[in-house]
Subunit: 129 residues, 2 copies
Amino acid sequence: MKISEVSKKYDIPVDTLRYYEKAGLLPNVKKNSSGIRDYSETDCNWVEFIKCMRGAGLPIEVLKKYIKLFYEGDSTLTERKQILIDERQKLILKRDAIQSTIERLNYKINSYEETIAVREKELLRQDKS
Amino acid sequence: MKISEVSKKYDIPVDTLRYYEKAGLLPNVKKNSSGIRDYSETDCNWVEFIKCMRGAGLPIEVLKKYIKLFYEGDSTLTERKQILIDERQKLILKRDAIQSTIERLNYKINSYEETIAVREKELLRQDKS
DNA sequence: TCTTGACTTAAAGTTAACTTCAAGTTGTAT
DNA sequence: ATACAACTTGAAGTTAACTTTAAGTCAAGA
């Protein structure tokens, strides 16, 4: 798979894909004799994984570390697991912060609706008098 | 209230408080005759609001717009409400993306646990033989 | 063969949100 | 009075994650 196809498939700019590779997130993308990238299925799965994790805000550095350990083999299993546990915990906190902000916004939006309703009634009363 | 007290109360660096003010998020902080800031209760409430919204990732620019409109009075009520609705929607999407990433991590962590358990059993069997 | 569009690189530029720095002023305790 | 911590400003520096630019190479169609 060429970079432009991967780009389309996962909706990630080609520049970003090359950037990820340079940053160490895709250490195994092969190139043909003329230097053009050919993404394997495994590469694509990594791209999809990276997209998901980045979408939740995991830093490049963390993903880099994780992927590096992955390619080091089974001796890094527990370390990799710990990274995922740590990041999951951060996501839980982040999700909860967002959730309570959503609830605060719900409350505020309701207040706005009430205030606006009152203002409209007042205008109506003025029209009639 | 002095800036250092506000900083302590809300756990926000003084530099960040001054930065917020410069960015237009705290347009009403008064200064005494020698130029030292004196935060009113209203200022503090804005600080708390900003902290909450920033904690969920709302951009400075959005908060700046909202606060500007607030100080323009009742004629901006519906526009302010719309900003909150838009930002709430973004937060909902963000929360859901994080939630599905958490679930994916749950699954992966479970897989790691199983894999590690198998590895440990294998080691044990080797020890015995 | 020539053009065109996709590919390559390294390096510089951008954006958001701080964070630090330099240089000076003020308030309080001894 | 003097030290010293906290305050002030404007400007420069930092970090993460892209994004753009410049300058070139490669492959396929007219």
